[in-house]
């Protein structure tokens, strides 16, 4: 990527090491390297493994960002070692630190246990569930109708998204972005006939409503898959089908207050989402809030242009009816 003979960067490479047969806890090994422009992190790991320390373990195969084997945490951010250039990271941070993916147990060095990852993918039924009768030839599906699933189609199951998922970190039972992106791939597929069933399943606890929308998954995916967008689409589809859940209750409550006045009514949303019982459980907060005068308005005044809100709502509904398609 640099010109021939351009700058070699002398740099420190730190790599996470852990050998369960031998170590009680992990440590880091350090090497000094002459890093050439164009060298990827994988190139450096190979050099270490082949010529300096054959005990270093890491997964890799295609070296072209399509097999998903080489997910690792590179200077704090998960990605593929095979398509990550080493010099820019070193330029920015002064050194290169290579660690295993997060949110998954470490088996050895940079190799993590992905069985939890796979289990969640299996759970969402990652295969087409077509209608009982298929056409004689290929399905006839217009190009535009194949577009929606594109945001999830190219997932290579590398695990980068799950590694960075803040919701998964706090809740190991959360299905996670990869499984849910895969779920959307089928929900959005015109040839799949199990949409409602799927959305019901994914609306259960630890599913689509447990995403905290932190955007890490969208940010780190090496294939530009948008798991968070996929989850948002499924939420809307679930709502369109009237599938109820704690999450949908909350979102609908929020939405309804906007329709009522144009602005959020925090009080109403809390009431509708938690119910009196739920609020009572949070009596501690409520009391303090009232004490400080922080309690939100019980009734919100309609914005002046409220008529606009109603009009736009009507126009959007009309447009949806005209288009009439499954999203």
């Amino acid at each position: 990527m640099g010109a021939e003979g351009a700058d070699v960067l002398v740099a420190t490479i730190k790599v996470y090491r852990y050998e369960p047969e031998r170590d009680e806890k992990a440590h880091y090994d350090t090497w000094e390297f002459d890093v050439k422009p164009g060298q990827t992190v994988l190139d450096l790991l190979h050099e270490i493994h082949y010529f300096h320390d054959p005990t270093l373990s890491f997964r890799r195969s295609c070296r072209s960002a399509i097999c998903g084997s080489c997910g690792m945490t590179l200077n704090g951010r998960t990605g593929l070692s095979c398509n990550t250039q080493a010099q820019p990271l070193i330029d920015r941070d002064g050194s290169l630190v290579v660690e295993p993916m997060k949110n998954m147990p470490v088996l050895k060095d940079l190799v993590v246990d992905m069985s939890g990852f796979w289990k969640d993918v299996y759970d969402i039924r990652p295969y087409l569930q077509p209608a009982p009768t298929a056409p004689k030839g290929p399905y006839v599906v217009p190009k535009q109708r194949m577009e929606p699933m594109k945001i999830a189609q190219d997932c290579i199951m590398c695990g980068s998204c799950l590694s960075e998922c803040t919701s998964r970190e706090a809740n190991p039972d959360y299905l996670g972005p990869a499984a849910l992106a895969k779920a959307f791939r089928f929900v959005a597929d015109a040839r799949d006939a199990a949409t409602a069933e799927r959305l019901r399943q994914y609306s259960e606890p630890n599913g689509i409503w447990d995403c905290d929308t932190c955007l890490y998954c969208n940010e780190v995916c090496p294939m530009h898959v948008k798991p968070m967008d996929a989850i948002m689409h499924m939420r809307e589809m679930a709502n369109d089908l009237g599938i109820e859940s704690q999450g949908s209750k909350h979102a609908i409550a929020f939405y309804e207050t906007i329709l009522e006045s144009g602005k959020l009514n925090e009080f109403k949303v809390a009431m509708k989402s938690l119910g009196l019982g739920g609020l009572a459980l949070q009596a501690g907060i409520t009391a303090k809030v009232v004490l400080r005068g922080k309690q939100p308005e019980i009734r919100k005044k309609k914005i002046e242009g409220y008529a606009d809100v109603k009009k736009l709502y009507k126009l959007v509904e009309e447009r949806k009816k005209r288009k009439g398609e499954k999203k």
């Binding site: 200077n75 803040t166 706090a170 932190c214 955007l215 709502n239 939405y255 303090k288 922080k294 736009l312």
Partner: protein
């Protein structure tokens, strides 16, 4: 400097102190704010979960209103920033979509041509007011304070949307803190999620991540935290007690809004900044804040 001010909903309701302090520092710094009083909620992701098309139309209406004023939009909430900017970039990047939405706006007498930019107060302070100017306006000595920033996910990701700051190594807030004389705290959680979006869905998970961020900040020496998002503020401040319960330990970390921090540094009376509204008291912090001493005059030779 003039902006169409998008106050958001929470910033004028349970976190009203955000709106108040924003207006105070805007006045001090010469940022003229024309409030978009008639703007609707940005949707905060929740309207988008129910009726994405409507949120797009409502936000387009907001943009049209700002465009009529000939002004860009200023936000003070990470969530507003993300939701508004995402909508804006979708419209400006897709002429067909924009035309569709304009058909609807026409029926309410509005039109959007895609000329509005949406910026968060944090970026405006650093890029447009400038750190130099801020440094000169500091009247209070914050050098004793370790201040942990909390951006809120939606202000730094996705990198491709915002175009400000490096999502992996965000520095805007830290540079601001330094310019204000404080000591920024380096900790991982500043980039992470406060948990607010799932507080009403899975409170346990929300409080787990909430507590983790705050405790990590404290472990790294934080005396106080400042955030650029009122929704984060709700989780960090209002729900700090619930976070303590899940974590099984005290946290006791006062949480400021960004403009409150700036206002404090500029010598605005904490009362006016409405710090008393916070659930977690900032008293301990305020006691360590003194007026800045005059710079010592170099002795002349005698």
């Amino acid at each position: 400097m003039k902006y169409a001010y998008f106050p958001g909903c929470v910033g004028q309701d349970s976190c009203n102190e955000l709106d108040v302090s924003t207006k105070l520092i805007a006045e001090e710094l010469g940022i003229e704010l024309v409030e978009l009083e008639d703007a609707t909620c940005s949707g905060a992701g929740f309207v988008q979960d129910v009726n994405y098309e409507l949120s797009l139309a409502l936000n387009a209406r907001t943009f049209a209103m700002a465009e009529k004023l000939g002004l860009d939009i200023l936000t003070v909430c990470s969530t507003c920033q993300f939701n508004l900017d995402r909508a804006n970039k979708e419209l400006t990047g897709d002429p067909e979509k924009l035309a569709e939405v304009n058909k609807m706006l026409a029926e309410i007498g509005l039109r959007y041509s895609g000329r509005v930019e949406i910026k968060h107060l944090l970026w405006v302070l650093v890029n447009e007011i400038g750190l130099g100017t801020l440094r000169r306006r500091v009247k209070v000595d914050l050098s004793d304070l370790n201040i942990a920033s909390f951006y809120g996910c939606q202000l730094i990701r996705p990198g491709s949307l915002h175009g400000y700051d490096d999502p992996d190594r965000p520095q805007y807030f830290e540079r601001l803190i330094e310019a204000l004389g404080g000591k920024p705290v380096d900790y991982e959680g500043r980039k992470k999620c406060c948990g607010f979006p799932i507080t009403f869905v899975n409170e346990n998970a929300s409080m787990t991540m909430n507590a983790k961020n705050m405790l990590e900040a404290k472990e790294h020496g934080a005396d106080v935290m400042a955030t650029s998002c009122p929704l984060c503020h709700i989780n960090l401040d209002m729900y700090q007690g619930r976070a303590e319960r899940v974590a099984g330990q005290r946290i006791e970390l006062p949480i400021l809004h960004l403009p409150q921090l700036v206002g404090l540094a500029m010598g605005i009376d904490p009362q006016r900044l409405r710090l008393k509204r916070h659930i977690v008291s900032a008293k301990a912090v305020l006691e360590r804040v003194r007026p800045k001493e005059e710079a010592p005059v170099a002795p002349t030779s005698s």
